[in-house]
Symmetry: C2
Subunit: 703 residues, 2 copies
């Protein structure tokens, strides 16, 4: 029995055990007084109501796609295996389970975090972060166990060859992608329609503060934080995580095919040292296939230690504690992953590739922090621009977002070239695995944000007194920064994962004998590139438009309730929160259908019309502008948000000044950019690649 | 003597003669009363002052680049000819001459147009349009004569072979590009800094109307229309025009090289019927080289007829007259160009390619009109969004701009594939020539806009009475629509011209024996693609930032003058217009240096670092996002502008309402998008391609 067969499931199980430990640790905490519990329950109910409605749509989608995949596997010459359909279902279920657990814990922790801050700031931090840790550990644990057991099932039980087995795993990735699509796009529309709707009537029209319990949309707003930033982010990164692992495994399997057929030109591109002189045994190939899972397992251990650093360390410097946990996990992963690689393969080159990805991810995160933090020049320059009104605030924000694309693009390009030079395409895929290996802890940091945000809202609504409010505000402020970094990380990892998938697509097309010419001198490829580059613009416009329409429905409802229940006139009258929750839910699910279908269908249509060559162009085009637009939209939005915070903290006239009003406009513009359209693009680029990989055999058969 | 040696120079000379005729026709008109002449003179002086200052910078640039090109031609093994340096100078001079004449006529015509509208609307139209015609005819005349005589000089007098001769012509294109860079980027910064600066203090702070003579920046604003929309647009399209012709000529010459060496794989890609069975004589090759110039010559005749339709037709439906002239010229060019091609080559396939370009250009123009016109849903949806404030106006505008990329992208992709299928790469280049062949009349339509705008300003400032003001307003409104269409046309032609240049680049690299692998499976190419795709974002951010800084300087100056001269308190006090003109000029020239250098240097640096392969990726990446961003920015800006006009025409509360204020914010955001950053991207993508072509031999020698 190979060591990987022990190490990998152990890593996955340890992750789930640690998640259980954190879960009970959080549940032990006091949920606060009755008022707080009431609010927390309302949020949980709203969140679960959204999930329930979402599942209804999802089940239809999953059943249809499973049926299609299953049918396609019987289509003469399609080369698709029925296992793809099964893997698709497993991937979808595991992603949904991880998201569901994450949401339950997050909505359980908000009141507990607020209550915890009564004792101390660090107590609040630990509760919020632990609940994020549950999500993080569930994602990595279920991801590793899911991919590993699917592989073992098809390879050992059904006795398929390695190539077919890894091919089937794309179905797993497609399942994860589908959930991510619904969670990110639907969640993104939900969260911003509630937020914008609540603000436009509450803050702007009625002049009541944010999180005022008289505002009927306030619970929907809090639900939105969980729906968008917990479930959406979790599903997004679950997808990246498993996709990067699967791409690496598939590249190794493709290498095996070409090596046996003696095509050393290609094997050397996949892994440079597999040249004609290489002496090669089948068991070695399995080790190359298993390596990404081993690295992921080492990442889990490192992430657990990273999480413990925060929990045991406590301390007043919250941001410092969170950042240190990331750094420690990064260093540990490099060491443990490096040792495992050396032990398994007797080589260090793949480690360099992996570390390149890790470093790239950190650089992107830091760049995001720089461009969006209120303590740095970019966001402050936006605040300064408020001197000449809202128009210049917008222009300055657009500019900051555009300039902020430089570092992420160069970081990904450099990581890609470096990884390729040391370990070929396999190295590029492995750099994505490396970047994502610390996901357990980085996702904990991400999910900490919305919990802290909710805790802040509950403290506000339950009237918990100045000291607690100040503390929850501190937690929330750090949460905004980590959320911004998390967004950058999510985008960067989506980009490098998509690159890995595209290179896998190219190799896969060659291994399936497709007549594919990927030269830029082919006008079909260039057409595909143009159309692919256009899709993110259209996708962003559709999701932005969806927020607008959903927010408008919310505005109407809030205005109506204000009038009907005389909420502003009489403090005793209570709004009907549930109606607002329902509106957000229904609008989000309705409005996500068009962009979602576009993402799934366009690669298949382009693949058939412009052939696999045009499809290659489409994928490369979509990842290029998808990446750029995602960074642009996320960073513009983040910088607008923090420019407003900068003014609110007393600069340029502070709250209520003209500068403040101008920056509020900027923030409102930025909201759908940074929380809906930008993050949804991560899904678009990965999903189109994975759809192409899944349907490639069919497309080849049809063209 | 071949027929083309007669036809081509005749076409060029006829164009210049017709320009002269139009010039005297305009000059004969009454320049109006003293007040009007005074204003017109102030605008002319301002415009000439800008040109003079610009020339100072330009001369330095041209001398340095000429020196470098000349020096490079002596660099051992660089394969560069000294003729490139000479062609560069000629191209630069001719572009500058065309721009200079255009500016002189435009600034001569504004008062005359205003005076003409006293008699009738159509009189005003004819004067404004004729002055645009001078610019249009100068551009095409000088373009055709310049390229033709350079070709004849190097081919017949210096006795160089066809390949070397067409290679040298890239220098001509580079010269034209350099002027375009300065005119478009500098002009774009100038025009918007003056406009935004004038509006922010005048309209917003002091509450005085637009074009109020008490506003010190009002003349700078009028000058800006000429600098940006006449000189900038003219130089931009001069560049596209000559670049598309040169690319087609070069492809034919490259074809000859490969045909002789028997590489029929490549010759068939360039022109499909040049297979191994083709019987080929050298004189035939010359005809293929001359074809684009012949088509251009036919286009000139068609454009003259198109212009005469407007001038002789007159009529009340101004927009209809302008559009008809474009349609008539399009149909005539197709017929005349088709006949010439049939006569010259005995084939019709190249005609199909040419017509594909023409049709593509018209579709893009109509799409732009749809997305920006105040009579259509997109702009109206932005106006509607003002119900919920400026933030939703911005979001809606971003969305409209993003969605508006669909048609132009598909039009260019479809034209490219169609042209390639019928006539190979040569066909793609010829489709660009086709699209631009009617430039004489389409540029007349473009330049009509700023003249009408100026006339409107002069009518306002000189207090010419309600009737005249209403008429000039009508002229101006149509001018806005044609300007938007012109922008779409400029972007579309830049995109297809750049594509032609990139395919020429690829063929040229192969013919020079470069080790170039343009497959998407090369990570260096993908890195180049990523970086290239990023550059338009950075370029747009830099130009947008330049407008912000320049506008801020203008705001300070206007505030200072209001205070110092007590302009608002006492009607007799006069502002110092010249100081404002000077500020715009200096800021524009200072702020265009960084983006300009970036455009020129990055292809050379990337070519050396990432090799010609990475450079290929860079070019393709930059054209992809450059095209998308340009459409997005131009159409968002145009739609915001017209959403404001829609409100001003009485909808949603009309002037002074909250809706109006919200749409003014949208318009201010859109100004630098549509008039600076968007159009500058046209230059970026063409310039980077032409720089790559010029320096390719050197880059190959260095790598």
């Amino acid at each position: 029995m190979d060591i990987s067969n022990v190490l990998i499931p152990t890593g996955g199980i340890v992750a789930l055990l640690f998640a259980t430990f954190l879960f009970f640790k959080v549940r032990r905490q006091s949920p606060g007084n009755e008022k707080m519990q009431e609010l927390s329950n309302a949020i949980r109910e709203g969140a679960m109501a959204f999930l329930k409605s979402e599942y209804k749509v999802l089940i239809v989608f999953v059943v249809i796609v499973t049926g299609l995949l299953f049918a396609a596997s019987f289509f003469e010459g399609s080369n698709m295996h029925w296992g793809t359909a099964l893997a698709f279902v497993i991937g979808a279920i595991l992603s949904a389970v991880a998201g569901n657990i994450g949401m339950r814990v997050a909505t359980m922790s908000n009141a507990r975090t607020a209550e915890g801050t009564k004792k101390s700031l660090s107590k609040g931090l630990i509760i919020a972060f632990s609940s994020g840790g549950v999500m993080g550990m569930c994602v990595v644990g279920l991801g590793v166990l899911g991919v590993f057991s699917s592989f073992v099932f098809f390879n050992s039980f059904i006795d398929l060859d390695l190539f077919t087995t890894t091919n089937i795993l794309f179905g797993f990735g497609f399942g994860a992608s589908s959930i991510a699509l619904f969670a990110r796009v639907g969640g993104g529309i939900y969260t911003k329609s509630a937020d914008v709707g609540a603000d436009l009537v509450g803050k702007v029209e009625a002049g009541i503060p944010e999180d005022d319990p008289r505002n009927p949309a306030v619970i929907a707003d809090q639900v939105g934080d969980n729906v968008g930033d917990v479930a959406g982010m979790g599903a997004d990164l679950f997808e990246s995580y498993v996709d990067s692992i699967i791409a690496t495994m598939a590249l190794a399997a493709i290498l095996g095919m070409f090596f046996i057929s003696g095509n050393f030109d290609i094997t050397q591109k996949i892994i440079p040292w597999f040249d004609s002189n290489y002496v090669f045994v089948q068991s070695e190939l399995v080790r190359y296939i298993m390596l990404p899972l081993i690295v992921a397992g080492m990442g889990i251990l490192s992430a657990i230690i990273g999480i413990l650093v925060v929990i045991l360390g406590g301390g007043k410097n919250i941001y410092g504690a969170l950042r240190n946990s990331l750094f420690i996990a990064t260093i540990l992963t490099s060491i443990l992953g490096g040792a495992a690689t050396w032990y398994l393969l007797g080589r260090l080159e793949p480690v360099y590739a992996m570390v390149a990805g890790l470093v790239g991810g950190i650089i992107i995160g830091l760049s995001t922090e720089y461009f969006t933090s209120e303590k740095r020049k970019p966001a402050q320059s936006i605040a300064e621009a408020s001197r000449t009104g809202p128009a210049t605030v917008i222009i300055q924000g657009l500019q900051v977002g555009m300039i902020s694309t430089i570092i992420p693009i160069i970081a990904v390009a450099a990581a890609m070239i470096f990884a390729y030079e040391v370990s070929g395409f396999y190295g590029i895929a492995l750099s994505a695995v490396g970047m994502l290996s610390i996901l357990g802890v980085s996702l904990a940091t991400d999910c900490y944000g919305p919990v802290a945000d909710n805790a802040q809202g509950i403290a506000e609504m339950a009237g918990m007194g100045t000291e607690v409010r100040e503390r929850t505000e501190q937690l929330d402020a750090v949460g905004n920064t980590t959320a911004a970094m998390g967004k950058g990380f999510a985008i960067g990892s989506a980009a490098i994962t998509s690159l890995a998938l595209i290179f896998t697509f190219i190799m896969m097309a060659k291994s399936l004998g497709a007549n594919i010419n990927l030269s830029l001198e082919d006008p079909y490829l260039v057409s595909g590139l143009f159309i692919g580059a256009m899709l993110p613009f259209v996708f962003a416009a559709l999701t932005m438009g969806a927020v607008g329409k959903a927010a408008y429905a919310m505005v109407e409802e809030v205005r109506y309730q204000f009038k009907k229940f005389k909420l502003l006139e009489n403090d005793k009258n209570k709004p009907d929160y549930k109606r607002c929750v329902k509106i957000s839910t229904n609008m989000a699910l309705k409005k996500m259908i068009l962009p979602s279908l576009m993402a799934v269908i366009s690669p298949i249509v382009v693949g058939i019309v412009l052939k696999p060559t045009g499809l290659g162009g489409l994928l490369m085009g979509s990842i290029t502008t998808g990446f750029l637009l995602a960074v642009f939209l996320a960073n513009s939005g983040g910088a607008w948000d923090n420019a407003k915070k900068y003014v609110e903290s007393g600069h340029l006239g502070g709250k209520g000044s003209d500068a403040h009003k101008a920056t509020i406009i900027g923030d409102t513009v930025g909201d759908p950019c940074k929380d809906t359209s930008g993050p949804s693009l991560n899904i678009l680029i990965k999903l189109m690649s994975i759809v192409s990989l899944v349907f490639l055999p069919l497309i080849i058969a049809l063209t």
